[in-house]
Amino acid sequence: MRRSVRLLLNDEAVTLDRFPPDLTLLDWLRNERRLTGTKEGCAEGDCGACTVLVGRLIDGMLAYESVNACICFVGALDATHVVTVEHLSQPDGQLSPVQQAMVDHHGSQCGFCTPGFVASMHALWLNDPAPDGDDVDRALQGNLCRCTGYEPIVKAALAAAKVEPSEANDRLTAEVGTTTARLSALVDGARIEINHSEGMSFVPADVDDLAQIYAEHPEATLVAGATDVGLWVTKQMRSIAPCIHISHLPDLKSIESEDGGLRIGAGASYTATRAALAQLAAPLGELWDRIGGAQVRNMGTVGGNIANGSPIGDTPPPLIALGAVVTLRMGEERRTLPLEAFYIEYGKQDRRPGEFVESVFVPAPPEGAHFAVYKISKRRDEDISALCGAFLITLDGANRVSAARIAFGGMAGTPKRAAKTEESLIGQNWSWSSIQAAQGAMEADYQPLSDWRASSAYRMRAAQNLLTRLFLETSGAPARLVSDGERMVLEAGE
């Protein structure tokens, strides 16, 4: 057992042995390390002004991802390389190609969001050698700018992509060998326990160790990506002590094909699961691209999204429609249940003290079935759904509905199946008249709330209309705005 967290901050090795469980990376950087280039804009992971890069060894390879420092806990950063904007230019002060492109394209005005943009753009620059306009948009979904209107920033990102990262122009690339060695030396497989007057932080050695710690401390807060728990701290000032960090556990990050579907470890991030899920069912990939911003997708986990029991939750509706099954674990004991059964009512899940979501099994849609997911939000990207509907419809040879699984988020106190709607469809011809009947039945399934995201009337009407969309799409008619994959961006040199 170790009683300290060890990490690299820019080029310095740091050992932290006394900190409260709720110490965020942002507060630590700004208040204790005086690295004030990283800003607080919202303290909820939405604006991206606090974006930094976090490098981790994955199978021995060093990879950097953007994260929101405002909702990232220091306790979760053992054996990582935290890189702030101060470390992105060369030691002699020469700007990085991303920074230079931002200057050349007039990409900053007030400058407050700029360090966060530079960090996100640096991650894109390192990880995608030839991004197009849509790739840049996706990489910047988690960064808000109120001054520029984004055009010059996107141009800067595209211009930077024309310069390849090299030892000569990028400090991270130049130092990749030494950083890998330094991080490897920090990995010792030990459990970490941090004692502090405000509570304990645990970093388990592996999943079995996690099971043991959680069984001993069932009151503890499990922290995976912290994209939800982070806000308990920054917004509600709730105590999360004692807390157990689980985002580093390789066993929880596995993504494996298993008879007819995919088993996803509860600690796998949205980013890590995207490709495999898109392959399993293309609509999942499209939905994943609209969850949070890149930073949230790098941090947030599918398991966390399931376990927090939000009535909206972006992932549960499609996973329920597909018939996903969760595996819960307490100590050495495991049980499984269909995802829809996990949600009992608003704020209440079928999870006992000390029990945690270990994995979720996602079946592939049956051959020939229609599977669709429609997320509707006030703003297209980086917004919580007003409603999210998922449909798995199987037709028999006579164009009759043989099976229907329909689930919605945002329509009830939990992600919930539309039982009456399904019932009205099953056995009927897949026709306009049965769709209309199903739309009527939906009113018996849901009595949605009115709130700032949408009114009850809108939620119901849009949900009903999604059946129309589904019907039209199964007959090949264009029934929604789709990206043509091309976004015209004026020449970066212009």
């Binding site: 919202c42 209107g149 809108y458």
Partner: protein, 779 residues
């Protein structure tokens, strides 16, 4: 001068002069994180932190304010209430004594600050602020315009009427008539750097305040007022803001005053920075409006008479609601001549945060009312709204006087429109869209071309003045200070470019320094798009004073005529001798020439009489137009902006790159106001959209898929504004009215373009779908 910087004294042109694409002076600091905002400044030992305790009622009498648990919380040093304000507990910028720093006795909106906690850490102050026990006796409240009207709420300040001609007779005689109403939502500024102030106590009654403010002189005045000390005891410093947009014109007062009071009281520096939720709850926003219009027009769509009332959600106090609602009326004509007109404002009191300045300052809401009227007429007549616009533009004598009796003398809107109509291929695209819609059951498209005319000058005429302080040091380096504040708009860059041009030195010769009330006194807010117009002229005046002295000195010393002393790039030619600028300055110093000057500027010609509603409030107008094309999904109301073309007038641009950045940024910000940015209050009067998780400003992926922005390069300010440029901050904010109207056209396709969809703002997917459903049901 910096040894590494050696200006080229043989150059043909200076580097970074006027009309060049100089980058923002802080660009390199922005991208490296080296630019210092107030929260980044090193804190002096013992610095304390403040946090505010807020009311949990929309309208109530406070029957008990029990703060002992707050006082006893760990780390707490002091707790301040209204009783602890040593001077006057008021920060009303209108001088109406209706805006307490801390509420006492009665709270008038949900989230109104009631007390402040000062503690050793920000976290301790924030936690302690949750521990108050406040008892309330609830009073009736109304949070929106209609409810306030029904409840008979008073105006927060005197309303305004603009009239010309006889509106009743005009409406009577018109061949056609229509009336309607429109709701226009407000908008949060969402500056990325929230409100913040840090106060450091000095000796005697002195205090220095760093504030993220657009109006240092007002902070100085308010801090003096709150502390009960004269202005000469208060120094306010602003290096830069992380965005302002009007949200830091008056809204910084509260935080600065509280930091100053706490600093004087404790003897320690005090910093106050609310978190994003509190910032959005405590500070005012763009005014929501309700517009009621009655219009007379003819079969050609030509408007005869307009009678309209603009009622605004002002919040609980006046703040700037008077001039904001005035400006709504000043722009309720946009580019159109109304023969008989009456425009009335109703600045209504509501139990919400007091609304304030926001880019455009009421103008966008006024303009939007005008454009709704155009749409109504177009759909009534089954015509393209662009035709109706063209039929109503201001024209020659007889059709060129505004409702406030100013003659429009510099009108270029017809040229802007015709060039844009051509370059955007508007007519062909509109035809193609109508054809597309015929065959597309779910996806519908819309296109709209809308114009902007925006009056430049503060309508409070006395604000149209500015000062600058310029020092030339012995080594030839120049120190520039002026009364404007930098919030990202590139003001410092543009003023320095203008100054570089006057002295004919490279931009890098000039050091731009933080705005300080100790250097330039009695400044106006950096607002009303006027920053460059005013401050660059003041800086040029200072330069010319120094140059006059230098010319006199050189002419005498070298016995040449004054016109033989010429400032050339980084050098001065005197007769047939040439010296580098630095050499010449050294000679002048030895010759005991005063190398410092305070410059001053006041805008000429303008005047305004609010009582009679007559005058010439604006020095000139800025113009622009945009074409937007959108697609909507008629099943869900979701939409996408497919293409935008902009042609905008900035006169002879001082810095085309910066001006283009202002236009693009204003467009997206205005588009957010009209589309996804929705403020939502619940039935307790509580604002529930108070963070980016719930309040949705545009993202990179929301920008138009094709976005062509061009400056009208042929335009030149007909007035003697700085180097014939025009102001750029606010006018382009109204270009995205074309997005709203294009959405409206896509909806109108459901009713074969014969019914005006009356799409209110913000046109969220929900409003679009509900409008579609309305039209499907037959209008």
């Amino acid at each position: 001068m910096n040894k590494s910087f050696q200006p080229d004294s043989t150059a043909e042109k200076i580097i970074g002069g006027a009309h060049t694409n100089r980058e923002h002076d802080s660009a390199s600091k922005h991208v490296t994180g080296a630019a210092i905002y107030i929260d980044d400044m090193p804190e002096a030992a013992g610095t304390l932190h403040g946090y505010l305790g807020l009311s949990a009622r929309a309208h109530a009498r406070i029957t008990a304010l029990e703060l002992s648990r707050v006082r006893d919380a760990p780390g707490v040093v002091a707790v301040l209430t209204a009783d602890d304000v040593p001077g006057v507990n008021d920060i009303s910028p209108a001088g109406l004594n209706d805006e307490p720093i801390l509420a006492s006795g009665e709270v008038k909106f949900y989230g109104q600050p009631v007390f402040a906690v000062i503690a050793k850490t920000r976290n301790a102050a924030r936690r302690a602020a949750q521990l108050a026990d406040i008892s309330y006796e609830d009073l009736p409240f109304a949070t929106d315009v209609k409810a306030a009207m029904e409840a008979g709420h008073p105006d927060v300040c005197p309303p305004l009427t603009l009239q010309r001609g006889d509106v009743e007779a005009g409406l009577e005689k018109a061949p056609r008539r229509l009336s309607g109403e429109m709701h226009i939502g407000g908008q949060d500024h969402f500056y990325l750097e929230g409100q913040i102030a840090m106060a450091v106590p000095g000796e005697d009654d002195e205090i220095t305040v760093w504030s993220s403010t657009q109006h240092p002189s007002e902070i100085q005045h308010m801090v003096g007022h709150a502390l009960g000390v004269p202005s000469n005891a208060v120094t306010v410093q602003v290096r830069r803001m992380g965005g302002g947009f009007g949200g830091k014109e008056t809204q910084a007062n509260q935080f600065a005053c509280l930091a100053a009071i706490a600093a004087k009281r404790t003897g320690f520096p005090v910093k106050i920075r609310p978190d994003r939720d509190d910032d959005m709850t405590i500070t005012g926003k763009r005014h929501d409006f309700h517009v009621a219009y009655d219009v007379g027009y003819d079969d050609d769509g030509r408007i005869g008479a307009v009678d309209a009332t603009f009622s605004a959600r002002c919040g609980y106090s006046s703040d700037l609601s008077g001039p904001v609602t005035d400006r709504a009326l000043f722009h309720a004509d946009n580019c159109y001549f109304y023969e008989d007109v009456r425009l009335r404002s109703r600045p209504l009191m509501t139990h919400t945060v007091s609304n304030t300045a926001f880019r455009g300052f009421g103008g966008p809401q006024g303009l939007l009312g005008a454009e709704r009227i155009i749409e109504e007429i177009a759909y009534q007549l089954g015509r393209d709204p662009l035709d109706i616009r063209k039929a109503n533009f201001y024209g020659e004598a007889g059709r060129n006087v505004t409702p406030y009796h100013q003659t429009v003398e510099d009108n270029i809107i017809e040229r802007i429109i015709s060039e844009l109509e051509e370059s955007s291929d508007y007519q062909a695209r509109r035809k193609a869209i109508i054809a597309f819609n015929k065959n597309s059951p779910v996806i519908r498209k819309g296109i709209a071309l809308t114009p902007v005319k925006f009056g430049i000058s503060f309508t409070a005429t006395w604000y149209n003045q500015a000062g600058a302080l310029v020092h030339v040091y012995r080594d030839g380096s120049i120190h520039l200070n002026h009364g404007g504040t930098e919030m990202g708009q590139g003001l410092n860059t543009k003023v320095a470019q203008a100054l570089a041009e006057e002295f004919q030195v490279d931009f890098a010769t000039i050091k731009i320094t933080a705005t300080s009330t100790g250097k330039v006194p009695n400044t106006s807010a950096t607002a009303a798009s006027s920053g460059t117009d005013l401050n660059a002229m003041a800086a040029a005046d200072a330069a010319n004073q120094i140059k006059d002295r230098l010319i006199d000195f050189a002419a005498e010393k070298y016995s040449v005529a004054k016109d033989m002393v010429v400032f050339e790039p980084n050098r001065v030619r005197i007769g047939n001798q040439t010296f580098t600028f630095a050499e010449f300055i050294e000679q002048a110093y030895i010759g005991r020439v005063q190398l410092s000057a305070a410059g001053f500027y006041k805008t000429p010609e303008i005047h305004w009489d609010r009582q009679t509603g007559r005058g010439q409030p604006f020095y000139y107008f800025a113009y622009g137009a945009a074409v937007s094309e959108v697609s909507i999904d008629t099943l869900t109301g979701e939409y996408r902006v497919d293409r935008v073309d902009v042609l905008h007038d900035v006169g002879r641009s001082l810095n085309p790159a910066i001006d283009k950045g202002q236009i693009e940024g204003a467009f997206i910000q205005g588009m957010g106001w009209l589309t996804t940015e929705e403020l939502w209050w619940d039935d307790k009067g509580r604002l529930r959209t108070h963070a980016p998780s719930t309040y949705k400003i545009p993202l990179a992926s929301d920008r138009p898929r094709i976005f062509n922005v061009k400056l009208a390069e042929w335009s030149e300010n007909r007035k003697r504004a700085i180097r014939r440029s025009k102001a750029v901050g606010e006018p382009p904010f109204m270009l995205p009215v074309s997005v709203l109207e294009a959405l409206s056209m896509a909806v109108a396709s459901i009713g074969d373009y014969r019914v005006c969809p009356r799409l209110d703002a913000p046109a969220t997917p929900e409003r679009v779908l509900m409008a579609v459903e309305r039209l499907k049901a037959g209008g």
